[in-house]
């Protein structure tokens, strides 16, 4: 008996309050949207195979990259780790029976689906071509009315994200089991806590910004319209006040996954646990004070540029703390190379490159040359795809045995991890070079001398596509044919591993008591010794 087999029928899923079932619903949904966004990315890369705009009209190209951005950011990256793995694991990691507000949790999935369907409807009825940034006055005065439906979709998806974040914060504060003090929380919980703070504080600002855009389009009020004395730069400020922290909403939960995986597969407590925990909170706090680095060339004052440039450099500090501490965790550990670990290594390497190139863009002098080129495209894809997506896949593989009770096939998944890594570098590394050579982003055509690197990039994208399809195939296969996993196949220390796989609906047969330290592998050994002795 477990949470999957307890009840059957479609309604038992659609009306469930169980965080684990909602996590599964989310997992299916975001995978679906990921492949739609991926297909759009494929179209972009195909178009850029040749210097001319020949596959589609330039206008269609604009719509394709806009929808690619909207779907990947709001319907994949933001909910990816928190709403699936986090939803499944946070109650288990803190030793609770469920998230604090199960109905709100289910509501958040329904809102997500409603928003997603609205976005797809927009796409089917002609799409929107503002770019995912909805820049005014383009979005308020010039392009077609699909801005409204897309905006509404993002608005609703925002509420879904707010509810997830709110639920996590409340659960982590109020639902911890006896003995689970703040500094015994797994780092995955810490990083999701930090991301939740960003969701709760940032997303409402995006919501009101979208409301103002909708009002400006429909009733012609003049908050952002210079003709009425409004200021389009105010829109930029409000938009990036959410959308920069959103970057950390996307990456922080991934960092949590990597902390868990690195500790488990090097059999060591995470080096400097407290520093890593607080670095998540520090990223969340600093993340709110760097937004104007997206606006260096938008007409903000020189003083703002200097201040925001400096603040941007500060975010590098907690990010570097994480990378260094993971490296120190590996030092003298008993490292094994299971698939989650391979993905985690991928994350560390690619996120480091993505982060370091962020320094180039946070420095105002180089930013003026590099912004709006492929350099910036490569930079955020290194962080988002190379970082976050690797972490997501790492987490899915790591907790797959817990979620489904089955092991995935190890050899082929290791292959998929390597293919993804190679494909990723082929796709996006050439874009750094293209950017420094001056190829602007968001155009369907480009000068012929850039073609060789673009062909490289498109070829890499097809390898990357194979890398993403493989897990879908073998993970589905493993649902039925995978080896039975057992409770704790990785010999990991988290509370979630101390109960059966897949877990009971109420997670634990009795409320657990956290009487040992977090990442305490000696405690785990002693538990095993006890079990052997009792037999």
């Amino acid at each position: 008996m477990n949470f999957l087999s307890k009840e059957n029928g479609i309604l038992s899923w659609l009306l469930t309050g169980d965080h684990k079932r909602i996590a599964m619903l989310y997992l299916f949904s975001i995978t679906f949207f990921f492949f739609i966004g991926g297909a759009l990315a494929g179209l972009i890369r195909l178009e850029l195979l040749t210097p001319q705009a020949d596959l589609m009209a330039t206008d269609t190209y604009n719509k394709v990259f806009t929808m690619h951005g909207v779907i990947m950011i709001f319907f994949f990256l933001v909910p990816s780790v928190p709403a699936t793995i986090g939803n499944f694991l946070i109650p288990m990691m803190v030793g609770a029976k469920d998230l604090a507000l199960p109905k709100i949790n289910l509501l958040s999935w329904y809102l997500y689906m409603a928003a997603g369907i609205l976005a797809l409807y927009t796409m089917a009825t002609g799409g929107v071509d503002t770019g995912w940034t909805f820049t005014t006055p383009l979005s308020t005065h010039y392009v077609n009315n699909n801005v409204l439906t897309t905006g509404l979709a993002v608005f609703i998806a925002g509420f879904s994200s707010i509810f997830t974040g709110l639920n996590f914060i409340v659960t982590i504060h109020k639902m911890r089991c006896p003995g689970m003090t703040w500094f015994k929380l797994p780092l995955f919980v810490w990083s999701n806590y930090a991301a939740s703070i960003l969701m709760v504080l940032g997303t409402p600002v995006l919501a009101i910004t979208i409301v103002l855009i909708a009002l400006e389009r429909t009733t012609h009020i003049g908050v952002f319209d210079p003709a009425n004395g409004g200021d389009p730069i105010l829109f930029q400020h409000l938009f990036w006040f959410y959308s920069h922290p959103a970057v950390y909403i996307m990456i922080l939960p991934g960092m949590g996954v990597v902390s868990e995986v690195i500790s488990t597969f090097s059999r060591k407590r995470v080096f400097g646990y407290t520093a890593v925990a607080f670095s998540s909170v520090a990223i969340a706090i600093f993340g709110f004070f760097v937004w104007a680095h997206h606006m260096f060339i938008m007409g903000i004052s020189n003083y703002s540029v200097i201040v925001f440039s400096l603040l941007t450099m500060l975010v590098a500090v907690p990010s570097a703390i994480k990378i260094f501490n993971w490296t120190f965790t590996l030092y003298k550990g008993s490292i094994t190379f299971e698939t989650p670990m391979l993905y985690a290594f991928g994350f560390m390497g690619l996120f480091t490159i993505g982060g370091m190139t962020g320094i180039f863009l946070g420095t105002s002098g180089t930013d003026i040359h590099l912004t709006e080129t492929y350099f910036i495209v490569a930079h955020f894809h290194f962080v988002m795809v190379g970082g976050m997506l690797m972490a997501f896949l790492s987490g899915v593989h790591f907790w797959w045995p817990k979620m489904t009770g089955r092991m995935y096939p190890e050899k082929i998944s290791q292959l998929a991890a390597v293919v993804t890594f190679i494909g990723f570098n082929f796709t996006f590394f050439p874009q750094f070079i293209l950017g420094t050579l001056g190829m602007p982003r968001r155009y369907a055509s480009y000068p012929p001398e850039f073609q060789v690197l673009n062909v490289f990039s498109t070829a890499g994208a097809s390898i990357l596509g194979v890398g993403y399809l493989l897990p879908v195939l073998y993970l589905t296969w493993s649902l039925k044919y995978g080896e039975i996993a057992g409770n704790n196949p990785w010999q990991a220390t988290g509370l979630e591993w101390q109960t059966q796989s897949p877990p009971l609906t109420e997670n634990f047969p009795v409320t657990p008591i956290m009487d040992h330290d977090v990442y305490d592998y000696e405690w785990l050994e002693s538990q095993k010794a006890k079990e052997v002795a009792s037999v």
């Binding site: 609770a96 029976k97 469920d98 604090a100 507000l101 199960p102 709100i104 707010i162 709110l166 639920n167 914060i169 409340v170 504060h173 109020k174 639902m175 911890r176 089991c177 006896p178 003995g179 689970m180 003090t181 709760v200 504080l201 940032g202 997303t203 409402p204 600002v205 919501a207 009101i208 910004t209 409301v211 103002l212 009002l215 009733t219 012609h220 009020i221 003049g222 908050v223 009425n228 004395g229 409004g230 200021d231 105010l234 400020h237 409000l238 101390q498 109960t499 109420e506 634990f508 047969p509 009795v510 409320t511 657990p512 008591i513 956290m514 009487d515 006890k530 079990e531 009792s534």
Partner: protein
């Protein structure tokens, strides 16, 4: 965890709260496995106190998101008021202070009746609770009624931003009663046009506030029926309390909106 067997299964902890986590369980809870559960205790909470604590905390967090939501509007207001102060002063003279003050009174009274309602629920006075909720409901409706009167005044005078917006009251204050009464001087055309930004913000801010009022009144209507059925007077007051927090929040937003929109420069007169 599972090795403790049936003994551990009987263990039932009374309370798991934020700072009092007890690593070895609460021994006094032993043997209380079958004590009565009130029907409103949901399965994933250990105790009624934990449930009330949790939902309360969630409500405060939700209000925090609401502050950020209105925060975007207040930021826009702050910036434009600094840039276009004369336009904001002249435009604010077009608002009706009498209606605004009356509405402030209505809302503050409704917060009082709501607070009384929470007290009635806590002390299990059913008829008192119903009365308080109905009074809050009526006061809320009254607020929206007066808001409608104010909005229709704006429509009549073409002060709604958009195609029909008229600058007449600001270019020729003598032709406008309200402007004349406030002793406004004619604004230069450039500055006069910025009154549209003021009214954009006026409608956006009071409109968002009104949307929150409408949602609140709808929930109040639902609560009146539930309260008459005795739902909140059996000890389970969390819902009433949390709604009270929401209602006071909406009230407080108005307490900020009133001086910012109606009372600019009034101290000089």
């Amino acid at each position: 965890m599972t090795t403790n067997g049936s003994k551990a299964r009987k263990q039932k902890r009374l309370r798991v709260s934020d700072s009092t986590a007890n690593p070895h369980g609460a021994p006094q809870a032993e043997g209380h496995a079958h004590h009565a559960h009130p029907p409103y205790l949901r399965h994933h909470f250990e105790s009624v106190e934990q449930q009330a604590d949790t939902t309360n905390f969630a409500m405060w967090l939700f209000l925090l998101t609401e502050i950020m939501f209105f925060g975007g509007l207040f930021t826009a207001y702050l910036i434009y008021r600094n840039w276009y102060y004369p336009a904001f002063v002249a435009a604010s003279h077009q608002l009706n202070i009498f209606w605004g003050t009356l509405n402030t009174l209505l809302l503050i009274s409704s917060s009082f009746t709501m607070a009384m309602g929470v007290w009635c629920a806590e002390t299990r006075k059913q008829s008192g609770l119903v009365l308080c909720l109905i009074l809050t409901f009526i006061l809320g409706l009254g607020f929206l009624g007066i808001k409608t009167i104010e909005y229709s005044e704006k429509i009549e005078k073409h002060h709604v931003p958009g195609f029909h917006y008229s600058l007449n009251s600001f270019l020729n204050p003598d032709s406008d009663e309200a402007a004349k009464a406030a002793g406004d001087k004619p604004l230069p055309l450039d500055m006069a046009r910025h009154t549209e930004v003021y009214f954009s913000l006026y409608f956006a801010m009071t409109g968002m506030h009104a949307v929150h009022m409408i949602i609140g009144i709808a929930i109040l209507g639902f609560m009146i029926f539930r309260a008459r059925a005795g739902a909140y007077t059996t000890g389970h007051v969390t819902f009433v309390e949390n709604f009270g927090l929401y209602w006071h929040f909406v009230d407080i937003v108005w307490i900020f909106l009133f001086p910012l929109l109606y009372l600019i420069s009034r101290h000089a007169n």
